[in-house]
């Protein structure tokens, strides 16, 4: 009897000790709802097998809601989240504020030198990597090769705006429901203004000069807006001022856009025969330039970062290392094929022959490499960011300017009026914010 009691006691103590040794750290990960993040949640068994002592709780939110929640939490030092998903717009601002934990001490197998230089540059402040990219994207041109052939034109791999204008005119066939070009028209700093800012970069325009003076009254912006409105009015789909990423993607999948300029991340859908009957007819090219040395393509990365207020920083970094490591790309490829590996973060992915064989791989990496967030414009600027200006005031200001430009596209006001109002608005906002003395 005594033996049995001792054995039971021993087993209980052992279990208790084992339990203490395996004490779980719970981390809360705030993330966006997109295909790559959903896929990651489905692959968590691999993480738990490697790190049974860490439990991950997910808070998945729509992008704008996530931004609001995370900003509120991080600005008040709330500590509700241990890992946050943020974009290249927030990282330079929040890194400077001291709101993010440096990721310079991630283990050697993270291989920081493998990150694409343009993406890494956008996530680094004063030599500190503040976020690890989960997927990166640029923008490029996708077009229907069969329509180009029918119209007797060739679209080069690195076209100019003049080529694009001519191609749009040649391929438009409104009677057949085919529109020459689809561009973002819906108002928003992440919608029409993302595209228009990159177009402006290629035309030699800029948001601000070196002294933070708004530049909408300059001839370069007039040229941008005139061409943009003309392109979409003459060759774009009806109601272009309401079209954002998704609307134009849907039109492209249905073959109704002869050309479309948008995120490289949509290449997977465009070349997927299950989603589009034109999948084998899609061609890709770099975003156009105007011969001034800058192309109209952006740079964006959804990245994982650790807020300074987190009380589980080590576990959070362990998770980030798993989720953004080279091994994770291989894990996705082994389960769902290389086509579904998160793109645009690591050099090694594009060196992989299987991935490089995908029809969009080369144009994606070339587009990402063509964007430089620290030197985005033809003329010098005091800010970082390709399709945005990395200052806290930008999101609100650009959304207001986007509404003016969307109204110009819809014909509710002239290009001149829209630009004049944008200039007045920007001067007022920048003065109030203290940038203009």
């Amino acid at each position: 009897m005594k033996m049995t009691q001792r054995a039971l006691l021993g087993a209980t103590v052992s279990l208790a000790l084992a339990g203490a040794a395996m004490a779980e750290t719970t981390i809360t990960v705030a993330t966006v709802n997109n295909g790559d993040m959903v896929r990651m949640q489905g692959l968590m068994d691999d993480f738990y097998a490697k790190h049974p002592d860490i439990k991950v709780e997910w808070v998945t939110l729509e992008e704008n809601v996530l931004r609001q929640n995370v900003t509120t939490d991080i600005a008040t030092g709330g500590g509700q989240y241990d890992v946050i998903t943020i974009g290249t717009y927030e990282v330079p601002i929040w890194g400077k504020q001291g709101w993010l934990e440096s990721l310079n001490d991630l283990p050697a197998d993270y291989d920081v030198d493998d990150l694409l230089p343009a993406i890494r540059g956008g996530l680094t402040v004063d030599g500190n990597l503040y976020a690890s990219p989960f997927y990166g994207e640029s923008s490029f041109l996708n077009y229907r090769k069969d329509l180009a052939e029918k119209a007797g034109i060739t679209i080069s791999d690195a076209p100019t705006w003049d080529e694009i204008k001519a191609a749009a005119a040649a391929m438009t066939d409104t009677e057949a429901g085919v529109y020459g070009i689809c561009l973002r028209g819906k108002a928003g700093w992440g919608e029409n203004m993302a595209f228009l800012t990159t177009m402006a970069n290629s035309y030699g325009a800029r948001w601000f000069d070196e002294n933070w003076q708004p530049q909408f009254d300059q001839p370069e912006w007039k040229a941008v807006m005139t061409d943009y409105v003309e392109l979409l009015t003459k060759y774009g789909p009806p109601g272009a001022s309401n079209n954002g990423y998704n609307e134009n993607l849907t039109l492209s999948l249905q073959g109704k856009c002869a050309m479309r300029m948008d995120a490289t991340v949509s290449a997977g859908a465009l070349t997927d025969p299950a989603q589009s009957e034109f999948a084998d007819k899609v061609g890709f090219a770099l975003a156009p330039d105007a011969g001034l040395g800058k192309r109209a393509n952006w740079l964006w990365a959804w990245s994982l970062a650790v807020p300074s207020s987190s009380d589980a920083k080590d576990a959070a970094k362990t998770f980030i290392n798993w989720a953004t490591n080279k091994d994770y790309l291989a894990l996705v490829a082994s389960k769902e094929g290389w086509r579904n590996a998160p793109p645009g973060t690591r050099t090694s992915l594009y060196a992989n022959p299987e991935y490089a064989a995908l029809p969009f791989a080369k144009m994606t990496i070339d587009s990402i490499n063509a964007a430089d967030p620290t030197n985005p414009t033809v003329k010098p600027v005091p800010y970082v960011g390709v399709q945005f200006v990395a200052i806290p005031e930008f999101a609100g200001l650009a959304t207001s300017v986007g509404e003016l430009f969307s109204a110009a596209l819809a014909g509710q006001k002239s290009v001149d009026d829209a630009l004049a109002e944008a200039q007045a608005l920007a001067v007022s906002e920048m003065t109030a914010a203290g940038y203009i003395k």
């Binding site: 808070v59 729509e62 809601v65 509700q80 954002g244 609307e247 109704k256």
Partner: protein, 276 residues
Amino acid sequence: MARATSPRRKALTTLAAWSVALVIFFPVLWMILTSFKTEPSAVAMPPQLFTADWTLENYAEVWQRSDYPRFFWNSVVLSLGSTLLGLAVAIPAAWAMAFVPGKKTKDLLMWMLSTKMMPAVAVMIPLYLVFLKLGLIDTRIGLVLALMLMNLPIIVWMLYTYFKEIPAEILEAARMDGAGLFKEIVYVLTPMALPGIASTLLLNVILAWNEAFWTIILTTTKAAPLSAFIASFSAPQGLFYAKLSAASTMAIAPILILGWFSQKQLVRGLTFGAVK
């Protein structure tokens, strides 16, 4: 005497009523139909009301990806908890305003209502900080308090309107029969105002169930209700429309059923006192 209605007029009125009802219900119907479509069918252009490839896959995936019962239970606790707590505070308040009004009662009522006109985002940071300091972030009790305070002006106003319809003489009679304040409110006033209290309860349960600003801001995982559940399937680019529709249908189904079965009380409550 009621006016005689011709069959033709009656038919036209019925047709008009059904048309209006259909227009109002159409977005919900569209959402329910979309929840049974595949993702490509959900975003097809031009939009299709019906599709050839109906599927239950969206529901299966939403169920598998999320802990729906937890979100649902939180919604039940938050909406019922905040409404019952609100009634406990508002019944005595509305009694005082209806039967022993002071000089400033009307001003007080207007002030209470004016707080509903303030944009919630204006007090977001202060309230978040208060919740943070009190350790109430992501707790059910914190959310119950927040929702109760938010809906309190409506509860007080509704109850005040119902109580005003009750003759003060009845309460006086109860008092003369020796009823104290507590007994007067609990045994005399409350039973007489029960239909009004019931419709106030129903309306506030619906308001609390649908609240989607504070319930998302002030929660992360433990206390998050169905509003956060829907937000987790929403993407700004419009991706996953079908799954978002399935999640939304699952979120509104309980309140839709409740609303359907209690529509008589709701209509009665909302029109109470409208015609004297």
